[in-house]
């Protein structure tokens, strides 16, 4: 059992330094160096060709769209964009690399020296971005056997569909001075990157699909020490919550080790989601020699200043600024905004409001009813077969009094079931509210006749009992009665 120290005790003796390496899988239609599709979840090895299989004789060609995305990411991270740079080969043998070298960028990254400002619990932190570079992803190894890991596996399966998918690796400089907030700052940074990539529309940033992956470097230095401590690199940190948990655990583990007079081993560690702990991976004491050299099969990337400026003009509003603006426009407090972000409804609400819906209503439907349905179906909100225009149409019908909330839910159900647009569902299902006095009066009279006790109480001035009669009428009219008018009619009869 690994010794761990109380978090507060760690902070009493040590200052943490964290460094984050985030890999973002770009959502380009084709791979980094060939024309193969990058669609997730296809039949294994069905999206491959001689180039991404590294067959003898094949040659890479750079995906221009990936370069464009890399530059836009660099600009959004306030980086300098290199006017000239080459790819490099990172040489190492591993079966998930078809060529046994990874085509990456080494000493000439396309973007460098940027920064990100974050607010964490009212305190501002500046994260310095050392570099953002392009590289290709490896294939996917599945170790088959009881352990599910490479050790003890009976055999391993290889799927090269992912091999050659474009990646951007974003590397921070050591983040110092965060103290007790180190895990939260790290989480906020990764969350910021996720929002940014979404806003840039360069990646679907689904951590659960591995399209955003995080490695966390963590070290502790004795308070007041000038030098950084020995760091560990924790991999397999695959959710925002895990970022926070992994860093917290490593701080507590390293703290216990150091206070005990021990020494942190420089190594790669793996985060275990189930236990919230990290375990030792391969040792980095004998560092791999990757024998980098400039990739001779590719010509240098030399984006013109004009192109860079053109791309700068396409940058979306920064996520923090946008969130602030929308919170004001929608009159939403911090808690409400957090809910909106959590269900990924920001874009949809904005579009629904743009289509004419009141912000309050747009928020209510997307965060409530629709998020619930997405959750039930196990899909992302934006994958639901309903458009912001549909939602705005429903909101308009509610405002005009043609629908109530209950009927609106039925309209959503119809739209999601593919019965057509909101209007079409209303018409086809005959869902409009009945405010025709003739029909309503008849229903009210029936309800009074059927519930003489209730009617008597209302006659005695106990108006809170009206609800029971309205409920009866609504039931009789399958929810399509105008509740306000029903109330008026009941009072006319009994008041």
């Amino acid at each position: 059992m690994t010794e761990i120290l109380d978090y507060d005790d760690v902070l009493e003796s040590f200052d943490p330094a964290i460094g984050l390496e985030v890999h973002v899988e770009l959502s380009t239609a084709s791979k980094m160096f060939c024309g193969c599709s990058t669609t997730f979840g296809a039949e294994p090895n069905s999206q491959t060709c001689p180039v991404c299989l590294g067959l003898p004789g094949s040659l890479p060609v750079v995906n221009a769209k990936a370069v464009e995305s890399a530059i836009r990411i660099g600009l959004a991270l306030n980086c300098q964009i290199a006017p000239w740079g080459r790819f490099a080969r990172k040489n190492y043998f591993y079966p998930d690399m078809t060529k046994n070298f990874q085509t990456s960028q080494y000493d000439e990254p396309i973007a460098h020296d940027g920064w990100v400002d974050l607010e964490v619990e009212g305190e501002m932190f500046r994260i310095e971005v050392e570099r953002a570079h392009m590289e290709e992803d490896a294939g996917k190894l599945t170790h088959v056997g009881t352990s599910g890991r490479i050790h003890g596996a009976e055999y391993s399966l290889l799927d090269y569909n992912r091999a050659g998918t474009p990646l951007i690796e974003i590397v921070t400089r050591p983040i110092l001075g965060t103290g007790a907030k180190a895990p939260q700052v790290a989480k906020a940074y990764v969350s910021h990157l996720r929002d940014l990539m979404r806003a840039l529309k360069v990646s679907d940033v689904r951590m659960e699909h591995g399209s955003l992956r995080c490695d966390a470097n963590i070290s502790l230095a004795h308070k007041g020490a000038q030098e950084l401590g020995i760091r560990t690199e924790t991999k397999n940190v695959n959710s925002l919550r895990s970022v926070e948990r992994a860093i917290t655990f490593e701080m507590r583990r390293q703290g216990a080790l150091l206070l005990d007079g021990g020494r942190v081993k420089q190594e790669t560690r793996h985060f275990d989601e189930a236990t919230g702990t990290t375990r030792s991976g391969r040792s980095k004491e004998e560092a791999q020699d990757y024998r980098y050299f400039a990739e001779p099969d590719l010509v240098p990337i030399a984006p013109s200043a004009e192109w860079i400026e053109e791309l700068r003009a396409t940058l979306p509003e920064q996520p923090v600024a946008r969130r602030k603006r929308l919170a004001t426009e929608w009159d939403a407090d911090e808690l409400a905004m957090r809910d909106i972000v959590a269900v990924g409804a920001m874009d949809m609400i904005e579009e629904t409001v743009a289509a004419g819906a009141p912000p309050q209503a747009a928020r209510k439907w997307w965060v409530g009813e629709l998020a619930r349905r997405a959750n039930e179906g196990g899909v992302e909100l934006e994958e639901l077969p309903i458009t912001p225009r549909d939602v705005a149409e429903v909101c308009a019908l509610v405002v005009s009094g043609e629908l109530n909330d209950k009927l609106a839910r039925q309209v959503f159900e119809g739209v999601l079931a593919g019965e057509g647009s909101a209007r079409e569902v209303v018409d086809a299902r005959g869902l409009a509210i009945v405010s025709d006095d003739g029909a309503l009066k008849e229903a009210v009279d029936k309800a009074i006749a059927a519930n003489p006790d209730v009617a008597a109480r209302i006659r005695d001035g106990k108006h809170q009992a009206i609800g029971a009669l309205i409920g009866q009428v609504m039931k009789a009219m399958r929810g399509q009665a105008d509740a306000g008018r029903v109330r008026e009619l009941v009072l006319e009869e009994l008041g």
Binding site: P50, P56, F101, Y292
Partner: protein
């Protein structure tokens, strides 16, 4: 019975006969297949012969021609292909056990272009293992022999192609030149070999040895043949990022010009002297004299860094080799050893590489891995890259003064089989004169200029600036016409025919 003189005719004459309907491609292909059958047991020039495929292609071309279809200038002419070009229907072994029996699932761009141009692929030719060598002796499938003297090497790495063309097993061949692998075999077999400007011919589908140096090119018996084949091969390929997107100069026209008046020809001071055969220097100087007589302006130029080119090459080249050949790991294709259930993937890779690669390949893998390793990278690979820049600057300065540069192609005539196998440095020196153009990426060619006292062929190297490949053909075409007049026919006519040969000069 086919006309035995067909085999000795240049490709452009055969193409004309095909166009005129005097012969069919099937007939021509059959004649070459018979010559291969007769001579390949002696020469070992071909590793694979595709008789059925070649005849089928030939018949298809004949049918298209009969139907009145407009065909390319070399349509119906047979061709041999070096075994490092990926071919969908034929094994591609690179002369290595590692790839024995491997049939690629795709065609190299050049193969596609040959097919589209109606050339008939006879088979795949022998080569030094993964093109590492200057004698074709490092092939895992036995050495190729020189048709001029079967105890001598045909050059390398493309000895299979040069021997096939010199021995009349094929009128044309395609090769690849990384340090001289087209030109040096050309020189020692009395054939024409051209290394185009780097980026002039697509490398897609050519199994990489050293990516920044490799360049495919034509092998032929005449200068015009080489030019016509070069025109089929050349041109931009979007699948090769290093391929140049510019119009190809008119090469066949340059070969036909036969006029060198006013051309400024530079003799490179550093490429000659000690270590060069007397006969090699003599034939070279005679050629230079002829150039003067024909009205070319000959000047001596100095390229001081050429002296270091060989050393730089033997760091850059193995460095790239060590990375390019890493993919042969026994996982997905090619040879696999040691997979007996007791070894993990890493061990299987290691055992396979130990058994699958030959000595020369291993030597270069070790040198290259070392040259790139941390702590040595700058001193070896880094310094070599600086020398490479200096070599390119020497060329730039020389081409300010000259239209072309000339030198011997290789310091000696064909040496004996086995002579240099235990002396790698002596072997490497065969490429002393050819390597600078690979480092700089400019165009370069070897043309036959005569024989030594013992009757072995000698070549002249002509070097032109990048993208000025036409100048090679202008010099070559003129030189060939002048020399053939003094010789009374092609140089290959001076070759003592092999006993089994079916080829006869008209």
């Amino acid at each position: 019975m086919t006309d035995a003189t067909l085999l000795t005719k240049p490709a452009h004459e055969l193409a004309a006969m095909l166009r005129a309907g005097e012969i069919t491609s099937e007939e021509l292909t059959r004649a070459h297949l018979e010559q291969i059958e007769a001579l390949n047991p002696t020469l070992n020039a071909f590793l694979a012969v595709d008789a059925d495929g070649a005849l089928a292609t030939a018949r298809a071309i004949d049918a298209r021609r009969a139907a009145g279809e407009e065909l390319g200038p070399l349509a119906g002419v047979p061709i041999a292909v070096k075994d490092n070009f990926c071919t969908r229907d034929l094994p591609t072994t690179c002369g290595s056990r590692m790839l024995e029996g491997w049939v690629p699932p795709y065609d190299a761009t050049i193969i596609t272009r040959l097919r589209d141009a109606g050339l008939v692929i006879l088979g795949k030719t022998n080569m030094d293992e993964f093109a590492m060598g200057s004698s074709t002796e490092t092939s895992a499938f036995g050495p190729t022999r020189n048709p001029w003297d079967i105890d001598r090497i045909p050059g390398g790495s493309g000895g299979g192609s040069s021997a096939a063309v010199a021995g009349f097993l094929a009128p044309l061949a395609v090769g690849s030149d990384t340090g001289g692998s087209i030109r040096q075999p050309g020189a020692v077999t009395g054939t024409v070999g051209v290394k185009p400007t780097y980026g002039g011919v697509s490398r897609f589908g050519v199994v990489a040895m050293a990516s920044s140096l490799d360049q495919p090119g034509p092998v032929a018996r005449t200068v015009l043949d080489a030019a016509l084949l070069h025109e089929v091969m050349a041109g931009h390929d979007p699948r090769d990022s290093t391929s140049i997107d510019r119009p190809v100069p008119a090469l066949a026209d340059a070969a036909r010009l036969r006029d060198v008046r006013g051309m400024r020809v530079g003799v490179v001071k550093e490429l000659g002297g000690e270590g060069y055969d007397v006969a090699v220097e003599a034939r070279f100087l005679e050629a230079v004299e002829l150039l003067k007589e024909a009205g070319a302006e000959v000047i001596e130029v100095s390229c001081p860094h050429f002296t270091y080119a060989l050393s730089a090459y033997y760091l850059i080249h193995p460095a790239e080799v060590s990375s390019n050949l890493a993919r042969f790991d026994a996982m997905r294709y090619g040879m696999r050893c040691g997979d007996d259930g007791t070894n993990g993937a890493e061990a299987v890779t290691s055992i396979t590489r130990g058994e699958g690669f030959g000595r020369e390949v291993k030597r270069r893998l070790i040198i290259g891995t070392h040259a790139l390793s941390s702590g040595y990278h700058d001193q070896y690979y880094g310094s070599a890259q600086k020398v490479r820049t200096l070599v390119a600057r020497d060329f730039d300065a020389a081409f300010e003064l000259c239209d072309v540069l000339v030198s011997p192609t290789t310091p000696t005539v064909a040496f004996k089989l086995g002579e240099r196998m235990n002396d790698p440095l002596a072997m490497y020196k065969a490429d002393l004169c050819t390597i600078p153009s690979n480092l700089a990426g400019n165009a370069s060619a070897s043309f036959p200029v005569g024989v030594s006292d013992e009757g072995l062929p000698i070549g002249l190297q002509v070097m032109a600036p990048p993208l000025a490949d036409d100048r090679l053909y202008r010099i070559g075409g003129w030189l060939e016409a002048v020399l053939e007049e003094t010789w009374g026919g092609p140089l290959l006519q001076q070759m003592k025919p092999l006993p089994e040969t079916k080829a006869v000069f008209a």
